[in-house]
Symmetry: C2
């Protein structure tokens, strides 16, 4: 399968041309399965008395999470962690919300190009914009990385910070996922929402650390996850300050993926996390660095195993590839969360 | 007075060669005044019942601060601010701690060069290190910006994040200011400590936004100010992640000064502050950007007016120059804090 690497020299943030082409040609087979199929649900969806993780099935994973958090917050326990050190980091795409058939951020990019087209008559003849506007994703992607970067720069840069924030908020409020027909912010994982709340209730500070654009996520993360802008770490464009305020430049600055994740954490948080959650090899170094914490630490990998309620993918997937993470999980003690087995429901709307 | 601009194209972070030379030749006249002279103290140092700012003298400035914070935290008040938007930013050098006769960070640089010299025999013949080691600051600075950058890169880069953190902590624990003979962390401003606590007690999140190195400050800011690493924004070197963890590269990445301050805030906090405190023209754009907040906002400038208890300087000063800030304060409604008049004490040890 041909892959386009989004940013040269960094292999994690990849997009398969064929995935985009499949999308443009209609949903592929696996995605036609209903996300409301409840055949794999077990137990009840309602909160049991005092259960902090009601959407997690009983088992080693749930028990491990509860044991870890309980000890971390209990002074005198072997697993106790001083409250200031309770830093928990979460990947976003594929860990807190879905990421198939394409990182949701790219649906925004495509829609923005269509919206911006009237102000850019030159796009009628300029690739990759010409092909995006003609609905020919295959041809749009023929320009490779250079074309993808041009699309990102055109839609994420060249405006004030406030303008970009409004554009993302407007998009999130109205856009629907092409397969599920849900709003994108309805495709968040209910069990992970519960985990975020449970950690916060026990004195943890929860951060997003994602390869996605930092300000794209900030526009909706507080309302959606309860994670405020100052606790979002992500990739970024260069910005400058002038008489109009903050201006986003059409120039890439930082890729918060792979080895960039520990770097982003060091720069933004300034402290090694004690808890990390990811789902792909782009999270490998974040999990690895967290594993070197001398304080009690825990790392989990959300393993996409449920082809009925969500998507099933790992090693071979162009989006959210998980290979090194599975291979090295036993070595590091990383906990694999089996979505099919460990989660009672996937999305908040599931019953 | 000849000035050396530390980083080309950015004029705020300047050092007067003469200031350094004066320092190397012994403290200049103004600095010989005792910092324990209490002749300007008025009122009592002890906390009055319920006074959140006991080290501030009664007057318009203190009243303005209390009125602003009280309204911000009071639902239904005209000045109410939702708790998530209560973001307060503070410059560090000259705003939270002293900065004369030289930014304290540079005393660390000089000491590090002396400590590192045995591992760098080439410094015996290489400027500016040769002159630093010989105690000849005048000659050391003759190499200008290039020499200053070389000193910064040599002492702040080329080690792991953990190693740098330990070096700064060790230095802060033992180093003494050449004039006051106090530990540097004893030269923090008691009235500003009270203001930080008062804001936090009313739901504000307090951030440092400084031209100083972000990780230099993080090493002691939590213990000293109650500001955790994730709430420190500063200038930074490039870092990478490899098998040894986080490695600091001897390469400058970001200058958090002047127009860089709103940029640093946007990148790290992702939200426009409602409260900003600075003391020099390097804070001008941070104050200006905060002034454009549509929520109730307040900006203060710590004006160094006290030659007896601290240092007196503004327009002509090579360190902490304040000119545009004074000129434009009335236009923007920025509050000038007169240290001599508004502060009962300067340092925590003052009585």
């Amino acid at each position: 399968m041909k892959k386009l690497t989004l940013f040269s020299g960094l292999k994690q943030y990849t997009i398969a041309a064929t995935a985009l082409i499949s999308f443009s040609c209609g949903p592929p087979g696996d995605k036609q399965e209903s996300s409301t199929d409840t055949s794999n649900l077990s137990g009840t969806e309602t909160t049991k008395g005092g259960d902090p993780l009601p959407s997690w099935n009983d088992g080693n994973v749930k028990k491990g999470l509860i044991d870890y958090v309980t000890a971390a917050a209990k002074e005198g326990a072997a697993g106790f962690i001083p409250v200031n050190d309770r830093i928990a980091v979460f990947d976003n795409d594929g860990t807190l919300w879905a990421e198939q058939p394409l990182y949701f951020q790219f649906f925004f990019v495509i829609e923005r190009i269509k919206e911006m087209a009237p102000q850019h008559p030159e796009w009628k003849t300029k690739e990759p914009f010409k092909s995006v506007l003609a609905g020919d994703m295959k041809k749009a992607l023929a320009s490779g990385e250079k074309g993808l970067m041009a699309m990102m720069n055109a839609t994420f840069g060249g405006m004030t910070g406030d303008q970009f924030d409004k554009q993302v908020k407007d998009w999130v409020a109205t856009a629907k996922h092409p397969i599920s027909k849900k709003a994108y912010t309805e495709m968040i994982y209910q069990p992970m929402l519960e985990l975020l709340n449970y950690l916060r209730a026990n004195g943890f500070q929860t951060f997003i650390v994602s390869g996605g654009d930092i300000d794209f996520m900030r526009a909706w993360a507080e309302k959606t996850y309860g994670i405020p802008p100052q606790q979002v770490v992500g990739s970024s464009l260069k910005v400058k300050y002038d008489s109009t305020g903050i201006v986003r430049l059409p120039e890439f600055a930082f890729l918060d993926d792979g080895p960039g994740k520990p770097v982003g954490i060091y720069q933004h948080i300034g402290k090694k996390p004690v808890f990390a959650a990811g789902n792909s090899d782009g999270d490998y170094q974040m999990l690895q660095w967290t594993s070197t914490n001398t304080a009690p630490h825990m790392e989990i990998i959300v393993h996409h195993t449920d082809s009925t309620r969500e998507w099933k993918y790992d090693r071979g997937s162009p989006i959210g590839k998980l290979e090194k993470g599975i291979d090295d999980a036993p070595k590091y003690g990383w906990v694999l969360v089996d979505m099919k087995q460990d989660w009672k429901r996937i999305y908040p709307s599931d019953h």
